[in-house]
Subunit: 306 residues, 2 copies
């Protein structure tokens, strides 16, 4: 199945204790689509300004990402500036220049409306709703969001949650959205809003996935070198949804497997700045790390113990 992703394409200026990247390629849709492209066809809906260089478009095309839905508007590309301390779990936003993003009205090309899989990356939930109105009969819809929309547009966001299959947010956002400090209770409340499945990202602690009657826990891959966590969440979502779109297996088992592929992709992404690691990633490395995840988490059943 093919995926349509709607989100941002951006320039990032990022500082971590290990270095700095200025005006590097970033944005939720960029990370998502690059990651998903290892598994599935991806079509990207986003906006860039006149300053967006051909080099980056070439890279996205080299990943066979369909760019029909990438609008180019007069003005500058969205620019995010952020910083991470030694605690690489949370970014400190230093500056946000929305630029052309302020005029973004996602318009799906006709052929995109038949998509089987839709990913609504982190943008204004009112725009996410407009996209949902444009797609016909997707088999799977997932969304991300962020603290800014939870506090500024909670009603629209809750409407989005009601209309998607899988919500992917981080731990702090799940607590913020519900006002519930216990994460398990918070998860139950979010599922009660109407989505089928909630994936809670916990940075270096991994991921929890909830349905109304199951929980799955996957650790993050233990890395000795984490250079830049920017885009880890979108890279995770790209691997997760990309693998699902590839297999089409929406059973609990199939979804768990896809989720681990998401964790695998995120673990590569943080090993270098911007999309540098994904640019030089080979598919064989992905499968090797998936096997390492199995080794990392496997323990024997009770019955096999004499």
């Amino acid at each position: 199945m093919g995926i349509v992703v709607v989100g941002t394409v951006a320039f990032d200026t990022v500082e971590t204790p290990f270095g700095k990247g200025e005006n590097v390629l970033g944005g939720s849709a960029t990370y998502f689509s690059t990651s998903a492209s290892f598994f599935s066809d991806v079509s990207l809906v986003a906006v860039v300004g006149e300053d967006f260089p051909e080099e980056h478009l070439q890279f996205l095309r080299s990943r066979e990402i369909d760019l029909q839905g990438l609008q180019r508007l007069p003005g500058k590309t969205f620019h995010w500036t952020g910083k991470y301390g030694y605690d690489l779990n949370e970014a400190q936003t230093l500056d946000t220049q929305l630029n052309v993003l302020m005029d973004f009205k996602p318009q799906l090309p006709e052929t995109y409306c038949d998509t089987d899989v839709l990913f609504l990356a982190n943008i204004d939930p009112e725009l996410q709703l407009e996209v949902l109105d444009q797609v016909k009969k997707p088999r799977l819809v997932a969304c991300d969001s962020m603290n800014f929309w939870i506090s500024s547009k909670p009603a629209a966001l809750k409407e989005v949650i009601k209309r998607v299959d899988i919500v992917i947010i981080n731990e702090g956002e799940a607590r913020m959205l519900t006002g519930e400090p216990n994460l398990i209770k918070a998860a139950r409340q979010i599922i009660a809003l109407g989505c089928k499945r909630l994936v809670v990202k916990r940075g270096e602690y991994g991921v929890l996935m909830f349905t109304s009657d199951s929980v799955f826990a996957a650790p993050a891959y233990p890395l000795e070198e984490v250079f830049d966590p920017t885009g880890a969440g979108d890279t995770f979502a790209g691997g997760f949804i990309g693998y699902l779109a590839n297999t089409g297996d929406l059973s609990e088992e199939g979804i768990r497997q896809a989720l681990v592929f998401g964790s695998v992709m995120a673990s590569f992404n943080v090993e270098d700045f911007s999309l540098e690691r994904l640019k030089r990633l080979e598919y064989q490395e992905i499968e090797t790390r998936y096997r390492s995840f199995r080794q990392l988490t496997t323990f024997r059943d009770l019955s096999t113990n004499g």
Copy 2:
């Protein structure tokens, strides 16, 4: 195999957002031995004061814990007062009355010196070394410690680490001991001090276990109600070491399984104040929750996916 545990028996006064327990039974050796007693014979070495009531001794005896090594000294029993906020991961110590603990000189009864398994719960590392000098040929020795000893007696603590098989500490302590913010690097450094295996406790995020050439990650059991995290680490260690002592299986697989039993025991302990949950725990519940841990973490191998 039987276990000897050396640590504290205490009165705790604990406040959490969900209630308060005053002068309740606590102490590292108490939690450890109660938890381990579900799997193995346990002998306890600790000290109490004249105020320690027969009722608590009766409880320990009801768990078939050998109390020959429990000294009673003139004065009051060690008393810890602490508080937890909604973030139940870290206790705030409000008061510590060492009382008879100040005069504690662990002296192993003759028959204890032949023990197969020794657990050095969190006490002064110099006392831990004295205990190590008393045991003859244990098959397995594990230890815990805390931030206070890391800063006040680092040399003695490093000597303990060199002489034990398994070190069990929490995430912050691992970073503090090495001065290394990356946990994986910190773990490598601790193993380089001479222990075979390091278990890093991460509270609600579970546990990581390291050897020089492997890592194992186990999540914490997702609980909707956590009343009191006091003793969770010692209850974890008790289940872990207790199960290992029971099976005697020191293979990587055997140790992983035991570690999950530790997580199972800890998950019960936090469901009520003091040792109340362990007091009413049935063995069948332990096995049921072990199976739930498998369901929580299992995902399929790559080769089974077409």
